[in-house]
């Protein structure tokens, strides 16, 4: 999916791909990063011997030791504060915040420190840290273990928000995030952890700030993130049978996002749907829709369609949760509406 934009290390070429889970791809990226960067360390709750709540740091504590794979108490502000301070003096910390919902506990550290030290001290410091966190719903996690938090950070200059949709990108984007000199919020949708895909062995990076065209099409552009990407691809398959050709863009980096790829695609197709799991108001969908209208207005044959979560917290009961989260059916109908509106 991302082959065209994947940068291999010429000194250590990536080997042939093999089927790997999203979780294992992330684990590989951390392992490779720890080998390449002696001043990289991992920090978070239960990431040590236990290997993390979702097993992303599995075996790394045994391999790299407790000094570089650091278990912490339930102190998210101190976890991210530790990362910011260490990053300010040149280390490369990678934090795990077990559930994205807990980011509220360290919001100040991210928004007022990580995102601003480079700017407010005018370049005297950088904050090369990564905050990995498990986000998203669909599994009965309830109001505080299921949220999509990209909107919480979308309005924060200085932060990078990365959101992979498949194992190959998860690995390449995580390595690129580790190497980035900017602070990265790395979103891992929980429903994707067990998905599998072709992942090249060894070191490679997938560039930040670059979207991928996950599927080419001519009638309509769907811009999607994380779990909405496989749903959009399935929707495209479904509509192909009806003669609708859907181009699917996997945004991959939410901030700063790749407007060029989106706008080029919409200029070609003349129609767009933006698909994001978070609540509708003030989120990524609103931003992308506004941008497309602003810059592609005269190319558009119909208003931009939107697929989002409903404007509610996430309920626990699974039927209720399914009611509020967007799915493939919502994408299919948004595409149909947008196509019809433009005829």
């Amino acid at each position: 999916m991302s082959d065209s934009t994947t940068l291999a290390d010429p000194a250590k070429p990536a080997k042939k791909p093999r089927k790997t889970s999203f979780t294992k791809a992330l684990n590989d990226a951390l392992d490779i990063g720890m080998e390449r960067f002696p001043e990289m360390f991992l920090i978070g709750e239960d990431i040590g011997e236990m290997g993390g709540d979702f097993a992303v740091t599995k075996n790394l504590w045994a391999k790299y030791g407790a000094a570089r794979v650091r278990d912490t108490p339930l102190s998210e502000a101190a976890i991210i504060g530790t990362c910011v301070g260490a990053a300010m003096v040149g280390m490369r910390p990678v934090a795990e915040i077990m559930f994205a919902d807990f980011l509220g506990e360290c919001y100040d550290q991210i928004v007022n420190n990580a995102a601003k030290v480079h700017y407010m001290f005018d370049g005297q410091f950088t904050a090369p840290l990564v905050i990995r966190t498990a986000c998203g719903g669909g599994f009965g996690g309830g109001p505080h273990h299921s949220q999509s938090v990209e909107g919480w950070f979308l309005n924060v200059p200085g932060i990078v928000i990365v959101a992979p949709s498949n194992p190959a990108d998860a690995k390449g984007l995580l390595l690129a995030s580790i190497e980035s000199d900017d602070p990265v919020l790395f979103l891992e949708h929980k429903a994707l952890y067990r998905t599998r895909g072709d992942v090249a062995e060894g070191y490679y990076t997938t560039p930040l700030g670059k979207a991928a065209i996950a599927r080419e099409g001519t009638d309509i552009t769907v811009v999607a993130t994380m779990r909405m990407v496989p749903m959009a691809l399935a929707a495209a398959d479904e509509l192909e049978a009806e003669g609708i050709s859907v181009e699917v863009i996997d945004l991959r980096t939410i901030r700063p996002y790749d407007a060029e790829t989106i706008l080029e695609s919409v200029a070609k197709t003349g129609r767009a749907v933006v698909a994001n799991e978070a609540p509708k108001i003030g989120g990524l969908g609103a931003e992308l829709s506004a941008r497309i209208h602003e810059e592609c207005f005269y190319d558009l044959k119909a208003p931009v369609g939107r697929v989002d979560g409903l404007d509610t917290p996430i309920p626990f009961s699974v039927p209720l949760e399914h009611e509020i989260l967007p799915d493939q059916t919502n994408i299919v109908s948004a595409i149909r509406v947008t196509i019809e509106a433009g005829r």
Partner: protein, 325 residues
């Protein structure tokens, strides 16, 4: 204490006082934008800390720390006027005018900058300390916090984490009796912040923050303790700020008189020095010399240009440019 050491600290305290008084004057004349929180009355605490912190150490100053920022800048970089220029929002400031009073930093002077969400850097200091520990460097990371800061959750997260990891952190708690208008004993379970710190099990001490001899000695002991690898240290300075609140003075008259007249750190040091045989004329000359230097800094700040407007969008990201207006 040696006479010359005390003379040096006396001079440092005058640098701080002269800096703050000149700044206050300029602020009232409308020459300094934003808000102003001065460290007047707390000069001994800041001079004591500055005298022991090396350029290779790190300190996170609080909002009343112009003085220690200027001292460290002058001592380690030889250009204290850049702190003044920063407060005027000028291009020659340490952060090109982008940080201001609440965010003046220069890592080469050990100054890692304030976060105006007071207490936020109690978490940040852990990372700097951890880096020193992992790299085997004997550096101290110091968080200068106020009594009000203790109300933040980061206070407890930080002390706990520093304790379990034995980090080289100096918590310099400047207890000036009030968090804006809230008396310390009303805002916290104890008016002695040390009582809240003791539960974390590492070395704690208190000192009269206006007694420069005592403060200098105790800061020295704390920093030595940390450099020897003995882990964190909590040192509470009992002091008092001259500045009232926006509405004016709100504290009891007797309290104001005690701290401003009977327990002024500079007057106290002056008396000790005279008892050591230092001539009053020499002490007056020290004051005048610092006041003269500060007026030069003020002139430098006023004459400096405003930042180039391109600075407004510079350094948001390392890897991406932000488009100008």
């Amino acid at each position: 204490m040696e006479r010359d050491t005390l003379l040096g600290l006396y001079s440092d305290m005058w640098l701080i006082r002269a800096f703050e008084q000149a700044l206050e004057r300029e602020f009232e004349q409308g020459n300094v934008p934003g808000m102003l929180h001065t460290g007047l009355g707390q000069e001994a605490t800041q001079a004591a800390l500055a005298s022991h912190l090396k350029a290779t150490d790190c300190f996170f100053p609080d909002h009343r720390c112009h003085g220690i920022n200027a001292l460290a800048q002058q001592r380690h970089r030889g250009n204290g006027e850049r702190i003044m220029a920063e407060l005027f929002g000028k291009a020659t400031g340490v952060c090109s005018g982008k940080g201001g009073s609440l965010h003046s930093a220069d890592p080469a002077a050990g100054n890692f900058g304030d976060n105006a969400v007071e207490g936020s850097y109690m978490a940040t200091v852990l990372g700097v300390a951890l880096a020193s520990q992992l790299r085997g460097q004997p550096n101290v990371a110091c968080a200068i916090i106020g009594d009000g800061t203790v109300g933040r959750g980061e206070f407890h997260e930080s002390l706990n984490m520093a304790a379990i990891w034995n980090l080289p952190v100096l918590y310099a708690c400047v207890n000036n009796g009030y968090a804006i208008s809230m008396p310390v004993g009303q805002g916290h379970a104890s008016a002695d912040i040390i009582d809240l710190a003791k539960g974390y099990g590492f070395a704690c001490d208190q000192v009269d923050g206006n007694d420069i001899v005592a403060a200098h000695t105790k800061v020295g002991a704390a920093i030595e303790h940390i450099r020897q690898g003995n882990g964190p240290y909590f040192l509470e300075f009992k002091t008092w700020r001259w500045q009232g609140i926006f509405a004016g003075e709100f504290r009891p008259e007797a309290e104001v008189k005690y701290w401003r007249e009977d327990h002024d750190p500079i007057l106290m040091a002056n008396e000790v020095l005279q008892s050591m045989g230092v001539d009053i004329a020499k002490l007056n000359a020290t004051e005048q010399s610092q006041r003269n230097m500060i007026e030069e800094w003020i002139a430098f700040a006023k004459e400096s240009p405003s930042p180039d407007l391109a600075k407004a969008t510079a350094n948001v990201y390392v890897s991406w440019e932000v488009a100008p207006k």
